[in-house]
């Protein structure tokens, strides 16, 4: 331990007696570290700022743009406005070329989509910017339109498709199918199987329900494609119908010659019609064959309706009545406009002052209709096309007109029509051709037919059972009014838990179909 004695000798330390410091050794400051850090920070920040200012922002973006917007890479100002983020106006520069209050991408449009219910709408101030739901810079493959359920759940208060999702409206409200047809499915399936020698019931379904090219929906039902082969053959005829005598209160039909002689809007067809199709006996007439949308039948039906319901003038512009889904309301106006054009064409060659005056009235009416159809914000009141009780002729109430006699003529005139069609108030009810019963959801058949057969889901009408038995079901089990659609329970048998896609956007669109403006038809609040 002798060496330890030296260790603590004054002025020295260690065994080797090294000198202690003469003064306190100041620990080095950290100024150099801060200086290097600060300079490095300025340099790196400068690089990023320079990139933001002059380099197109490629380095400061927090991820690549989606493939939809990839061409805007390096052009930040296309979407971003300084201190405002991504205002909707920048999105609408491309996504909505027209500046409209109820544009395709507005929330009002969403609230009113297929509902026309103004109680659903919220102030525009509560609208969220596009970029809130459509998140960019998530990479090339990020699907912008696949919005997370959470965004929808901010307003729609249920947890998921499997937990609290409302039942489909038709099932919840027990709404009938508004096909407006007399159509027993089983009968048709059986006849189709016999006709074509089909073994599989589903093959018969597909004879009429023709998938669209993409397979998502079905083509609208068409008489010419689906019905014409069996219905209304050349032998189809009307019964003998009483001819119109001109006497007040005596219902009857007009001959072809009488229609030609009367002329007027909508009678141009009569000039070219074959008179040999009519068999006239004293006081009566019959027509053979009867065509689909036969002009003579429809013209006489219109004349009869005008006597029964003189107030329903706009109904004359349509071939059928107007009990249609909201989304089809503009189609009514288009059909009315087409009728007006035909009527104008028919009379415009007549120089007489009375006809020219009527022509001017028709042209003004057409212009008004066209204006309203093209302007989605204008009111299209489809009820004006409807034959209402209020339009009834006063004579029906007083007994001057014999309603039963009129209706008998109407029934006889439309007897061949009523094989399939429903006639009400001297009007053929409009057929729902598009076969789309879901109001707010879009069902993709293509994605489902791989896993299920048609009748696995469309089982409300027991087609398979009765076809197998070789029988037709009683009418109450097989009517066109029966919604032969699956309910939520059927959907949830697959789309629940960890099953297949059950996201909101799997079936719904936040922004409605661009082509369908009908949801705005009742938009009255903001119309000037």
């Amino acid at each position: 331990m002798g060496s330890d004695d030296h260790r603590f000798e004054k002025g020295f330390f260690t065994e080797k007696r090294l000198p202690v410091a003469e003064k306190y050794v100041e620990p080095p400051g950290r100024g150099k570290l801060f200086l290097v850090g600060g300079l490095g920070m300025l340099m790196v920040a400068g690089v990023f700022l320079a990139n933001a200012g002059f380099g197109g922002g490629s380095a400061i973006t927090h991820g690549p743009l989606s493939e939809n917007h990839a061409l805007f890479a390096g052009e930040c100002s296309t979407c971003h406005t300084p201190w405002e983020g991504v205002p909707d106006g920048n999105c609408l520069e491309c996504h909505q070329k027209f500046g409209s209050e109820l544009g395709h991408y507005t929330f009002d449009r969403h609230y009113l989509f297929r509902s026309g219910d103004f109680d659903r709408s919220a102030p525009a101030s509560q609208e969220l910017p596009c970029a809130t739901c459509h998140r960019e810079h998530e990479g090339r493959e990020a699907p912008l339109s696949q919005v997370a359920d959470a965004r929808c759940q901010a307003c729609h208060g249920f947890a998921s498709f499997a937990d609290g999702h409302p039942e489909f409206e038709f099932a919840r409200e027990e709404l009938p199918d508004r096909s407006n047809l007399r159509f027993p499915h089983t009968l048709h399936v059986r006849e189709m199987m016999d006709e074509y020698g089909l073994v599989d019931v589903e093959d018969a379904c597909l004879r009429c329900h023709t998938p669209e090219p993409m397979g998502r929906f079905f083509e609208p039902i068409s008489f010419e494609r689906q019905c014409d082969a069996c219905h209304l053959s050349s032998g189809t005829a009307t019964p003998f119908l009483p001819l119109r005598t001109g006497a007040e209160g005596e219902p009857g039909v007009h001959t072809l010659a009488a229609i030609r002689a009367a002329g007027g809007p909508g009678t141009l067809w009569a000039d070219f019609w074959n008179p040999n199709e009519f068999m006239e006996v004293p006081g009566q007439i019959r027509k053979r064959p009867v065509y689909h949308e036969d002009p003579w039948v429809l013209h006489n039906l219109r004349l009869l309706r005008q006597e029964l319901y003189p107030g329903a003038q706009l109904a004359d512009l349509l071939r059928t009545s107007t009990d249609v889904a909201q989304r089809d309301v503009p189609n009514l106006a288009r059909e009315a406009a087409e009728t007006l054009r035909e009527q104008i064409q028919a009379i415009q060659g007549d120089p007489s002052p009375e006809v020219q005056a009527e022509l001017r009235d028709l042209q003004e009416l057409l212009a008004e209709v066209e204006r309203r159809v093209e302007r989605p914000f204008s009111i299209i009141d489809e009820s004006r096309f409807r034959v209402r009780v209020a339009d009834r002729a006063p004579g029906l109430a007083t007994g001057e007109l014999d309603e039963a006699a009129y209706l008998q003529v109407v029934d006889s005139l439309t007897a061949s029509c009523q094989t399939c069609h429903v006639v009400d108030r001297a009007t053929i009810l409009r057929v729902q051709k598009d076969q789309r019963s879901l109001v707010r959801a879009e069902f993709d058949h293509r994605a489902h037919v791989i896993h299920a057969r048609c009748l696995d889901c469309h089982s409300e009408i027991p087609i398979r059972e009765f076809v197998a038995a070789g029988e037709d079901p009683p009418p109450e089990l097989d009517r066109a009014e029966i919604q032969n659609l699956p309910t939520m329970e059927s959907c949830l048998s697959c789309h629940a838990g960890q099953g297949p896609a059950a996201r909101c956007v799997s079936c719904h669109f936040f922004h409605p179909d661009k082509e369908h403006w009908s949801n705005l038809s009742r938009f009255e609040r903001r119309v000037p």
């Binding site: 330390f13 080797k16 090294l18 050794v25 801060f34 600060g38 990023f48 690549p64 810079h137």
Partner: protein, 280 residues
């Protein structure tokens, strides 16, 4: 200002010890819980409400953590409280900062250059901080058990020069064989402080070979030559201890170069991040 300092000091003082780790764990658990709930019930991303809360909390915490440097620079301002409290806040706050950053990013890797830089810097700064804590705790223990004395890093060159001069003097006054041995085996080692690779493991390579060379020489030298050789060996042992100090203290101080400048860079880029988010 003094009032704020005292309050913070009291706060950090109270939270130091076991309370601060517990508070950190509690906040982290709360954050994780919010993250899990947010992920299940809603959409969670850096721009969502919860994501922004995590991001803002991380930014505020980064500023608080950096108060340690401020406190350290103001050694004479006692009203700011004890440095230890700030150090505790620096360590646990730093760890919490990284966790909040991960919550902010949703535990996803960034996609852009800037965000990668931010994310990488956050990770680097915190991990280098953890390494620093480990070094601060382990190096004094190694020195205590390895070296026979304590010495200030900045005095080492001066003292090594002293040792070298003494060694040269001993060798110059010794026999030619001792002088030759010194020039051949020891002169280079005694010339200047050296970083010794195995210092952290309490030894370094070559020691055995050199000792065996000295033993061989000692056996063949006359008695007066042996005394010179023993003196050289003692000086060399002292130099070895100097090198251990030199190595470990340089690691301890050099580590800071990997931590502090990048922390400043991180702070600057966080400010820039806030600017970009607000501007764009």
């Amino acid at each position: 200002m003094k009032g704020h300092g005292r309050a913070l000091s009291r706060g950090t003082g109270r939270l130091s010890g076991r309370k601060l780790p517990l508070a950190t764990a509690l906040v982290a658990l709360l954050g994780l819980g919010a993250y899990v709930v947010g992920s299940i019930t809603g959409e969670l991303h850096p721009g969502s409400l919860l994501g922004l809360v995590f991001g803002i909390a991380a930014g505020v915490l980064l500023l608080l953590v950096m108060l340690y440097s401020v406190r350290r620079g103001l050694t004479r301002v006692r009203s700011m409280g004890r440095r230890k409290g700030y150090m505790q806040l620096h360590i646990w706050g730093g760890l919490l900062f990284l966790f909040l950053v991960l919550l902010h990013t949703g535990f996803r890797l960034p996609r852009g250059v800037f965000t990668w830089t931010l994310w990488g810097l956050s990770l680097w700064v915190v991990l280098s901080g953890v390494v620093g804590v480990l070094l601060q705790r382990s190096i004094p223990r190694i020195l205590n058990s390895t070296a026979t004395f304590e010495v200030h890093l900045h005095r080492i060159p001066e003292l090594v020069t002293e040792l070298r001069q003494r060694a040269e003097s001993v060798a110059g006054n010794g026999s030619p064989r001792v002088r030759d041995f010194y020039e051949r085996e020891l002169a280079a080692e005694m010339a200047a402080p050296q970083m010794v690779g195995m210092a952290l493991f309490r030894g370094w390579g070559g020691r055995g070979r050199l000792t065996s060379g000295m033993d061989l020489l000692r056996r063949t030298l006359p008695d007066e030559g042996v005394a010179s050789l023993d003196e050289l060996q003692a000086l060399r042992e002292a130099k070895r201890d100097m090198d251990v100090h030199f190595t470990l203290q340089r690691i301890l101080r050099g580590w800071l170069w990997l931590h502090l400048p990048l922390s400043i860079l991180l702070l600057g880029l966080v400010v820039l991040h806030v600017f970009f988010i607000t501007y764009f």
